[in-house]
């Protein structure tokens, strides 16, 4: 009993200690850990376009993500901040790497409070623009010169109603990757990978015959279903704007042009192209099967390729890239899907010009070269020194990026359609619960529901789809 009393005494005295410095207006000096200047005042000041070039100390906060898909980004970010601070002694930059789980909730909280980062990382398209619609980020047209902007790849993803709401940082594209050694074993010609859907199905049969999983994937965490939509649904269309137009009700997702991809995917499933455990493993585990030599083909992401090559027992000679075989003949079937992961400047930032200056610094030749060296991922800038790209596979991808690049569809539809129809639907296809026709209906029902629930977003989509 004495022990308990002691324990309580300690607890209570600690409690009193904490309460004494807890809620109420706390003087900032009392706590060594209180917020820095950015969180200090809930500022509602309108963005100024005047450049603060005075030597007054400036503190910028950057919330970012990307180490997760481009390992090495952290090192590059640290080096870039250091180099920038040397050039601008009055500026200090604080970077916070967000986890995948906190990226969106943290920013939305900050936006509601009008206090948080000056510069925020965003995925492309809708992921950026919905923050423009809510007023959380500002247009950059007056902050970054047009000729500088013209070098950034895929800027169209972030433009809305004639204004540019963000810029790209690095490129994330979706090649089809295959293992030439396994192709040879199965009697397939690694120099001539499948071109058509029938070629692909035949290849599946041959690969199955030698006991290799033809194509591997993982659906459990959902993302991959959205990727397959981006990769497959495009083939029967000429422009990504078709999907925006259908979203606002100008076409139906049950129309053959929109529903065909479900059937194409179902054909692959019927032909046993996929791993049996696809529904119970995560996206990344599906990718891992390829590196482990268990599968021969992958719908992959080009930011991962260097990581694959660095894996023990694997290497650049264990993979080759190809365009996705075609099941339809729309113009988009010839495109290489890519998106620029990038940046925006928040409406509460006190130093928008300084923010923009730092973003432009990221695109200087030295920083572009360092990015490539640190991550092996292509920067979203056409001034990248191409002589640095030594691997034929990456040269090929850069060629696609700069000649036949096309939009990642997921960035141009409402998230709700992506989650509730694409991701959910692909899982239901693989679990055998729904037919392609039922899934097309699911898409149409979901988008109708979205229109009903979000009249405001519909008007933004109408403007955006023009």
């Amino acid at each position: 009993m004495k022990n308990i009393i002691k324990l309580i005494t300690v607890l209570v005295s600690f409690a009193l200690l904490v309460t004494s410095c807890s809620p109420a207006p706390t003087p900032t000096t009392a706590a060594p850990t209180t917020a820095g200047p950015t969180t200090a005042a809930p500022t509602t000041a309108a963005p100024t376009t005047a450049a603060p070039t005075t030597a007054a100390p400036i503190h910028l906060v950057v919330w970012w993500w990307g180490e997760q898909e481009a390992p090495g980004a952290q090192k590059w970010m640290d080096d870039t901040v250091k180099a920038y601070e040397v050039l601008h002694p009055n500026v200090t930059i604080e970077t916070v790497l967000q986890s995948t789980d906190s990226l969106i909730p943290a920013f939305q909280s900050a936006a509601a409070a009008g206090s948080g980062p000056d510069i925020q990382y965003f995925w492309g398209g809708i992921y950026t623009l919905q923050n423009a619609w809510s007023g959380a980020i500002i247009p950059l047209d007056n902050l970054i010169p047009a000729d500088e902007m013209s070098h950034y790849i895929n800027n169209f993803e972030r433009s809305y109603d004639g204004k540019q709401y963000g810029i790209g940082w690095y490129l994330s594209g979706n090649p089809m990757v295959y293992n030439p050694k396994l192709f040879t074993q199965a009697g397939l010609d690694p120099k001539n990978p499948p071109q058509t859907w029938n070629d692909l199905i035949t290849a599946c049969q041959k690969l199955n015959a030698i006991g290799v999983v033809p194509i591997s994937g993982g659906m459990k965490d959902g993302w991959f279903g959205g990727w397959l939509f981006s990769i497959l649904a495009r083939q029967s269309h000429d422009s990504y704007k078709d999907f925006m137009s259908a979203s606002v009700g100008n076409a139906k997702f049950t129309d053959p042009q929109f529903s065909g991809w479900w059937t194409a995917l179902d054909q692959l499933k019927q032909a046993k192209c996929w791993n049996a455990d696809i529904n119970s493993i995560d996206y990344q585990q599906g990718q891992d099967m390829f590196v482990q030599g268990k599968s021969a083909i992958l719908f992959s992401n080009d930011t991962f390729l260097k990581g694959f090559a660095d894996t023990a027992g694997f290497g650049w000679d264990s993979m080759a890239v190809m365009m996705v075989p075609k099941w339809a003949t729309g113009k988009m079937a010839d495109e290489y899907i890519t998106t620029a992961q990038g940046w925006g400047i928040t409406s509460w930032s006190k130093y928008p010009q300084q923010d923009a200056d730092f973003l432009m610094f990221m695109h200087t030749p030295d920083r572009l070269a360092a990015w490539w060296a640190d991550t092996g991922v292509l920067p979203a800038d056409n001034r990248m020194d191409t002589s640095l790209i030594t691997q034929p596979i990456q040269q090929e991808i850069y060629k696609w990026d700069t000649t036949v690049a096309g939009a990642n569809l997921e960035n141009f539809i409402p998230n709700q359609l992506d989650n509730d129809a694409n991701m959910t639907g692909v899982q239901l296809l693989f679990s055998g619960d729904k037919t392609p026709a039922q899934l097309a209906q699911l898409s149409e029902d979901t988008i109708a529901k979205w229109r009903l629930q979000n009249p405001d977003q519909v008007t933004f989509f109408q403007t955006w789809s023009k």
Binding site: S22, A31, W63
Partner: protein, 279 residues
């Protein structure tokens, strides 16, 4: 002979033993799998899913500990847990005393109202709470996060303690009053000392919750040197996702502090919980 070995008693004992052993195996197997996987190489993991590792491979722990921020994060988690558990337990005991032992208008109403607060998922309160915390300049501070945790723990804590205080017999309190104890005196001298078991339970349950909490720690502590152990581990998860053994090593590291504290404190904890002076 004190023992009478009848067939029925033997069978009963056998069935019971089997039941408990089965439950223990079900409990232990995932933990076994977690620990052995952490010591495997990637290829060992793939070819030998549930067996013992072929050799003890410690690199995973190096990967998981990389950056050396472990101790800083450990300290942050500890500060948050100690602060919010102490504060919430203390305030909840005060309130529970009023609910359990005093008569006032609207008591049941207020109690049920507080109880129903438990059903609001923290997920939905994050944005408005963040706005409040910014206004009070408590974002990126221990105090702000401790305040939020304390609030979220309060309904459960009040419920538990009220429940317990109600089991303390009136006679003891009346006797103390006869001896001239004030209300506060009864609280300090009688209620709290008699509440050992309940308090220990409360502290353990709440400390575990804070230690393992992720979402609030992620959003409200946006500075690298304020991050908690669980946040660090979750970042590790998204970075080393291809390397399952390294992820497992990270999970083991996140869990070890709790298990060590439990193992050391277990005697005290169990005794505390079971030493109820109250029937």
């Amino acid at each position: 002979m004190r023992h009478h070995f009848t067939a029925r008693a033997f069978l009963g004992g056998f069935v019971r033993q089997v039941l408990v052993i089965a439950a223990t195996l079900v409990v232990l197997f995932p933990i076994y799998f977690l620990v052995v996987s952490a010591f495997k190489t990637q290829s060992d993991y793939i070819t030998n899913l549930w067996g013992l590792p072929h050799s003890l491979h410690l690199d995973n722990f190096n990967i998981a500990l990389a950056g050396g921020k472990f101790f800083r994060r450990f300290a942050n988690s500890t500060i948050l847990a100690v602060g919010s558990v102490a504060l919430s337990s203390f305030l909840a005991c005060l309130a529970a005393y009023a609910f359990a032992r005093m008569k006032f208008r609207g008591k049941r109403f207020l109690f049920n109202l507080i109880l129903s607060l438990m059903v609001i998922p923290p997920v939905v309160m994050i944005v408005p709470m963040f706005v409040t915390m910014v206004r009070w300049q408590l974002v990126n501070t221990y105090q702000g996060t401790i305040l939020i945790y304390t609030g979220l723990l309060m309904p459960f804590s009040i419920y538990l303690m009220t429940n317990f205080f109600q089991t303390i017999p009136h006679e003891i309190i009346e006797a103390a009053r006869m001896d001239g104890c004030s209300t506060l005196g009864v609280f300090w001298r009688i209620m709290l000392p008699l509440s050992g078991p309940a308090l220990v339970t409360l502290v353990v349950v709440n400390a575990l919750w804070v230690w393992n909490e992720l979402l609030i720690a992620l959003v409200f502590l946006q500075k690298d040197d304020l991050k908690t152990l669980m946040v660090g581990i979750s970042a590790l998860r998204s970075r080393n996702y291809t390397n399952i053994p390294a992820t497992m090593a990270g999970l083991v590291i996140a869990t070890i502090p709790i298990v060590v504290v439990y193992m050391f404190g277990q005697r005290y904890f169990i005794r505390g919980m079971t030493s109820g002076a109250v029937k």
